[in-house]
Symmetry: C2
Subunit: 499 residues, 2 copies
């Protein structure tokens, strides 16, 4: 095969591969939002077939020949094409080691598990989910060993979401973070009565909350021509290319800030995907580069922007007016403190900025132990509850608010959690870098985030997976330094709680 | 290849083929309901790729070998398998004559045209849609000639939606029907002042109409575990197997009956698909057999049931209460007359039972002429308007309410329209047959349509495409006799209008 012919085959490959991902993605989105409940089995079967087609495409003789031709002539390829080819070859090389039936069964199991998890969570019935959960971990372990026989399976899973991450790096990050966070959290907890957020727990009509989501999407300058919002049990973002990105939220009538921060968080993910460079969209490198980089965006929008004083200046007047008279006796300053109230609590997605990383650490601990064989699915609820008591001092009343709360394990995102905390830590470093080019806080005050978006677009979003995530972060912020994150938290919560 | 091996390959073929159809169907549904507008192009591209995969699957050497093996050993196959194989072979034999690029381009064009049609209708801008419409007809003609080189292309299109239908049969049905309907319509029009339906044109809040749809779906005993309702510009039903059927409606605040009859009509389609036999679901014969049979179901539920006195006894109390005080001065008898008001009008989907077939005849005339070369897309609006004046006596004020009203031509359903009228005529014959087994009108009065559903399930629904549509109809009702339909209309409208 000549290089030119191989390049043509690459273009055709990209189109087919994109279409399969697009179809499977839409099917997942539909299943999580509006699909009738009784359709889960057949959706699982179709997702299995689509992934079989993807597997066959990736591992076909023709694809291999195309990739080998291009790898052999890599020096003649432009930078972007060379990156696409080496990433494809890496995928090929890992996937071909997985027997096709295992691969398809894994996709089908994930679809089925996700449906069972939804039901189990609704019914607060962990026993229903337990066999699926155990199978998910067992299968993930086998898949990881197929892909990287010489690596610890959990490290392979971590690397899947964050290229280069392993248990050692996690330990190096989490242990000192915990050491510094715990005393700070204790100081805040001792002054818990400084902030009372009961006014945010009145009844806030869902219809108005829906309009508020639209307002937030306008402030964030999310292009509605390519982005919509749906409703689901557990909020997530999915993209079928930069031209079609879907965010989701869940409205709780008695919790104003739950959907508010879901929308900003998922909106941050969506902005990233909506601004992938035109030259790489529809290709294997045309998406967010890693989970930590992705979370560094979503959590920057959620916390650094969304929980700032300046952002309160934008959202507080809207909320006060549209939900009148509920917030009539709440000042803007009091509102700022309320949205930054820190309380050791049960639900990760509703955790405050300060305690959030401890929720992540608990999941990291449990995943690690599910992989090293010292824990089974059956034992998970008890261990979950024990760690929540130990790390956060809270009693878990039921599995719905405990081990069943997150969707990640049910749909195969095992090894994903640590990137939430790393992303949060990354996000603090952007504040420093951004200040060299624009006044972040003044931009937020303007009520339109377009210039902040442009800053990220230039440095991160447009590049997609062109660079490895660690290298990309360093190109923007220099070395990763978790102390910046700690300092940011210390300064903010010292001020909010008058420590 | 041995027969056993071929049977295994058939099972694998069915699974993949089903998955591709499922994925494409969901993508179509999403595009017509909630997808962001700017996603149409990329959705078209993915639909094109999915159809390319379908084409490759259908025409592959392996499939051919499988089919030839089974065709050669057809005598040894059970009845269902033999039917599946001969239907697959027929499809194969037709599709393989279409060049793959033409085939894919046709799918992509249909997706794109559909998006442009939505926009053109919204903007009342026929010029925007015209080039796509012309291309759709040109391409349909070419595709028809590839499939059946010796047949008139329009006959091939008719046959595609209704096996065995051709222009000759259409003329034999439509010409006498028109001859009998026109004088009846004239008599009714002369007494137009007998029925005043202005009370149905007040403001009916959409939120309450949404709840009414749920009520209707309960009355129809549509299984919500496998069936949901969405909102779209032009109502349609789509099924991704009997386990996931989606109906759609469009709410007009100032027209109570528009969504009401969309929901019952689409609900009739959905009931059919929800009750396909378990033994054939997921296979090539696991769906409604033809458009006329499908429409005979949807229009039976819409008109025979939905516009009956007995059905008023179910829906009128609900509407009176929930929309109070709007219908306080409307008696149940007056309500019955209102929902049966007959007025020559502009919009097919909102046409009354009596004038409906004339809307269909206009579209049939125009399609026929687009195919025989005596009409172009550019000339369509003028001809459309001329025929509406001639057949129905109405002036078409704009293309939005004229040639742009239906989605069929934009998404490739050319040759579909005649089956609406044939299905309507079929539906009257079911009344006679059904009366041999159950009391239709008493069943409607009960407010639950389950027993009526069961009657259709046994005779029609469960069979899917096991029998040719004409044969299936005859097995239930004997010979097709349009006079039954005429008599039904004469009797009903003589009574409603006191002729």
């Amino acid at each position: 095969m000549k290089t030119n012919e191989a390049l043509e085959k690459l273009a055709a490959y990209e189109k087919t591969s994109f279409a399969l991902g697009h179809a499977a993605g839409l099917m997942y989105y539909d299943g999580a939002t509006i699909a009738p409940k009784g359709s889960a089995d057949i959706r699982g079967s179709t997702l299995g077939e689509l992934s079989r087609m993807g597997y066959n495409l990736t591992t076909s003789k023709e694809t291999l020949e195309m990739l080998e031709t291009l790898m052999a002539d890599k020096a003649s390829l432009d930078f972007i094409t060379a990156r696409k080819v080496s990433e494809l070859f890496r995928d090929y090389d890992r996937v071909r080691r997985i027997p096709v039936d295992e691969y398809v069964a894994w996709q089908e199991l994930a679809a089925k598990s996700d449906a069972v998890w939804h039901e189990a969570k609704e019914k607060d019935d962990f026993a229903l989910f337990e066999p699926y959960l155990q199978k998910m971990f067992d299968t993930a372990k086998r898949i990881a060993l197929y892909m990287e026989p010489d690596k610890k399976p959990y490290d392979t899973m971590l690397d899947m979401f964050e290229r280069g991450l392993d248990t050692e790096k996690c330990e190096a990050f989490f242990i000192p973070l915990r050491a510094k966070l715990v005393p700070l959290i204790q100081k805040v907890t001792a002054k818990a009565d400084q902030v009372d957020d009961t006014p945010l727990k009145q009844s806030f009509p869902v219809e108005t909350q829906r309009r508020f989501s639209e307002f937030l999407m306008d402030v964030m300058e999310l292009d509605r021509n390519h982005c919509l919002i749906g409703e689901t049990e557990h909020p997530f973002t999915i993209n079928f290319s930069k031209y079609d990105v879907r965010i989701t939220t869940h409205y709780h009538e008695d919790m104003l800030v739950s959907s508010l921060y879901s929308v900003i968080h998922e909106g941050g993910h969506a902005l990233y995907e909506l601004h992938i460079g035109n030259d790489i969209t529809f290709t294997n490198i045309g998406g967010g580069v890693s989970m930590a980089i992705h979370e560094s965006q979503s959590r920057f929008y959620e916390n650094i922007i969304g929980r700032s004083r300046e952002f309160c200046g934008i959202i507080y007047p809207w909320l006060k007016k549209e939900f009148a008279p509920r917030l009539d006796n709440v000042t803007e300053d009091a509102f700022y403190r309320m949205i930054n109230k820190s309380t050791p609590s049960l639900i990760r997605t509703e955790a405050d900025e300060l305690t959030y990383s401890l929720h992540v650490m608990i999941r990291y601990e449990l995943e690690k132990r599910m992989f090293d064989g010292t824990l089974t699915a059956k034992q998970l609820p008890a261990e979950w509850n024990r760690l929540y008591k130990e790390y956060l001092g809270v009693d878990v009343p039921n599995d719905r608010k405990g081990v069943l709360q997150d969707s990640h394990w049910s749909n195969g995102n095992i090894g994903y959690f640590p990137s939430y905390a790393i992303g949060s830590a990354y996000s603090a470093q952007y504040i420093i870098e951004m200040s060299k080019n624009l006044n972040l806080w003044e931009e937020i005050k303007s009520g339109r985030l377009g210039k902040i978006n442009a800053w990220f677009e230039d440095r991160i979003w447009k590049h997609g997976k062109t660079y490895d995530p660690g290298k990309l972060f360093e190109s923007v912020c220099g070395n990763f330094n978790p102390d910046v994150y700690i300092s940011y938290l210390e300064k903010k919560f010292t001020e909010v709680y008058g420590l």
